[in-house]
């Protein structure tokens, strides 16, 4: 583990990157033939939502972040695609087991809820979870901004 002096790195790329990725995914979606049919709105919604998350994950740092990795893996599983990630030390699970008996119950209950929210939070220790949550919040808010801009810009006047 690195020294405690190193500041928490939650740099998030600029909005442009997010927008780029999102628009790319959207355009890709549009290329699908059955996309613009008036029925099946729900499907479209789901696809767009998924595209949003995936593009966000990719924009926000790809596989460098645990939550983005989990997100991408989840999406890939739905698409039944093979996911290949760069090899990393898988040490989170054992860490969690070892520390499980020394935790504050109240804090742990909250952390559990957080784990359910943040993708990939199941295998993280609490401090790491916090870090991922911070980054996730930043990315989420960025994505929301981008989408909002897009919607407002593209909405019929």
């Amino acid at each position: 583990m690195a020294s405690a002096d190193k500041p928490i790195n939650t740099d998030v790329p600029e909005k442009d990157v997010f927008t780029l990725h999102f628009l790319q995914s959207l355009s890709n979606l549009r290329r699908q033939n059955t996309f613009n049919s008036p029925e099946k709105t729900n499907d479209r919604v789901k696809k767009i939502k998924k595209a949003a998350y995936v593009s966000m994950a990719r924009a926000a740092g790809g596989t460098n972040r645990l939550w983005s990795r989990a997100l991408l893996r989840r999406a890939a599983k739905e698409n039944s695609k093979v996911v290949r990630f760069p090899r990393r030390k898988k040490r989170v699970t054992c860490l969690r087991r070892r520390r499980s008996n020394r935790r504050d119950p109240v804090e742990e209950e909250e952390a559990e809820r957080l784990r359910n929210l943040v993708p990939g939070g199941g295998g993280m220790e609490t401090s790491k979870l916090m870090e991922e949550t911070a980054h996730y919040i930043k990315c989420l808010s960025m994505q929301v901004k981008v989408m909002q801009c897009l919607v407002d810009g593209l909405a019929p006047k």
């Binding site: 442009d16 290329r31 767009i48 995936v54 957080l114």
Partner: protein
């Protein structure tokens, strides 16, 4: 006799008890038994031990000034209860050096603190004597003590012993030797508890004991000067060991031995160097060096726990800055609640916006690539605050959101829940994007109305299309 043994070991030749020369009146029992020759005879030690098991409260009251109080020969049955109470001060007694009100009373103090700390172990006098000898940095090997003494048996008790010694609240241990011993013992304790390797215990304590022995023989008058440095060193060593233990839980297990040895050896070097200031933690290690704070338990577990808690609270503070409206809230539970709510609301927003996009999108049949290209060309000319894009992007990428932001801010409040309220960072955008909004809207409407207008920069569109278009597929 214990005291004489320690004395002998320290001085190397003197068999008489030091404190005989002191002006203070040591308890008569000591004097009597002080004349006994050094031996391994159990009966004698038994007798001595029992007399040594004075009332610990007495020591406390006296302020470590020696056994002036004389109530030392309390019944052995009572000392058990008192021992537990005073266990904490087991190693804290030698803190005061020179002892208050006393001049040459270090030796009785040194021997006096032993009984309380050893109460938790089988009160086998032989074991105690050996442990005492060991603890006073004798030159005798620890391994031989271990091997000789069968009641000592498993290293668990030894570990316990080491642990017991190290649980004192006061970390400022007197003298080099104590530091090394405690650091070494703590290190070995950690190691033995984790690896169960007896050899380490013997060799490390041996090394630390030996070194401690030689340095302690230099005399106690310089102890005060050394003490501060060694306190820092001990703290760092302990801290480093704590953090290393914790870090090792994360990382590999092999590095641990080397890294634990290195701080300890550094400590030794520093101690012997004696002139260097606080030898701060080696940055090359890359480990956290935790300092045991005053008045806190220096248990390895509690230190690691404290590091963990500090880390969590630091991250919580960071999160507090992120989540708007959390500055007034204090307390982890409420903060976490707020964070959870915020994340949930953000996710809901994404879902809602995607729904909106889904309804909006099919209505306009616009060419996205064209849109982007056109916007790029228009905006690029229009503004100087275009964000520079990476050179490998052949397509000119417009800072779309900036223009949108202006409009977004104005329409922000309608559907979006409060957490995403404007003032996040919208303020600084206003001045620079005043002119964009109109341009952007024009562009969009142009594209919107023209339908599939072929983009001006076909090349750009083609390039964009040729980009890995499988967005839905996951790529590493």
């Amino acid at each position: 006799m214990d005291v004489s043994e320690k004395d002998e070991l320290r001085n190397g030749d003197d068999t008489t008890v030091n404190y005989d020369e002191s002006a203070n009146n040591p308890p008569p029992d000591w004097r009597v038994s002080g004349s006994n020759p050094v031996s391994d005879s159990y009966p004698t030690e038994n007798l001595m031990m029992e007399t040594l098991w004075y009332d610990p409260t007495n020591v406390q009251a006296v302020g470590y000034g020696g056994f002036n109080g004389g109530g030392n020969a309390s019944s052995s049955s009572s000392f058990r209860g008192n021992i537990d109470r005073s266990l904490e001060m087991g190693w804290s007694l030698p803190n005061l050096l020179p002892p208050k009100g006393g001049n040459g009373m270090f030796l009785p103090n040194a021997s006096s603190f032993l009984p309380p700390s050893m109460a938790q172990f089988p009160a086998d006098s032989g074991f105690i004597e050996r442990a005492a000898r060991f603890s006073l940095f004798s030159g005798g090997s620890f391994s031989e003590m271990m091997n000789q003494q069968q009641p000592l048996g498993n290293p668990e008790s030894v570990g316990l012993f080491l642990q017991g010694q190290c649980t004192s609240n006061e970390v400022n241990v007197v003298g080099v030797a104590h530091n090394d011993a405690s650091a070494g013992m703590k290190e070995t304790n950690v190691r033995s508890s984790e690896q169960g390797n007896k050899q380490n215990v013997s060799e490390d304590t041996q090394s630390s004991g030996g070194k401690g022995g030689e340095t302690s023989s230099k005399g106690f008058d310089s102890k005060k000067r050394k003490r501060n440095k060694q306190n820092a060193e001990a703290d760092q060593s302990q801290r480093s060991q704590q953090s290393e233990e914790e870090a090792d839980n994360n990382g590999g297990g092999d590095k641990k031995r080397n890294d634990e040895q290195s701080p300890n050896s550094q400590g030794n070097k520093t101690n012997s160097g004696k002139q260097q200031g606080k030898q701060t933690s080696d940055p090359k290690d890359g480990y956290i060096h935790v300092r045991a704070r005053r008045g806190q338990a220096t248990n390895s577990h509690s230190l690691a726990e404290r590091v963990r808690r500090e880390k969590i609270s630091e991250r919580m503070k960071f999160l507090q800055d992120l989540v708007p409206g959390c500055n007034k809230v204090t307390g982890k539970a409420v903060m976490l609640d707020e964070i959870i709510n915020y994340v949930q609301s953000l996710q809901r927003q994404v879902e809602f916006l995607s729904m909106k996009l889904a309804t909006v999108n099919p209505q306009m049949d616009f060419n996205l690539e064209g849109l982007l290209a056109k916007d790029a060309l228009q905006l690029r000319a229009g503004t100087s605050s275009a964000t520079p894009f990476p050179p490998n992007m052949p397509m000119v990428y417009p800072p779309l959101p900036h223009g949108f932001m202006q409009q977004t801010l104005s329409s922000m409040g309608r559907n979006i829940s409060s957490p995403l309220s404007p003032p996040i960072n919208g303020g600084y955008k206003r001045q620079e994007t005043n002119g964009w909004e109109g341009d952007l809207q024009n562009v969009i409407h142009i594209n919107y109305g023209a339908g599939d207008v072929p983009p001006d920069s076909q090349a750009a569109a083609a390039t964009e299309a040729s980009l890995p278009s499988s967005n839905m597929k996951v790529e590493p």
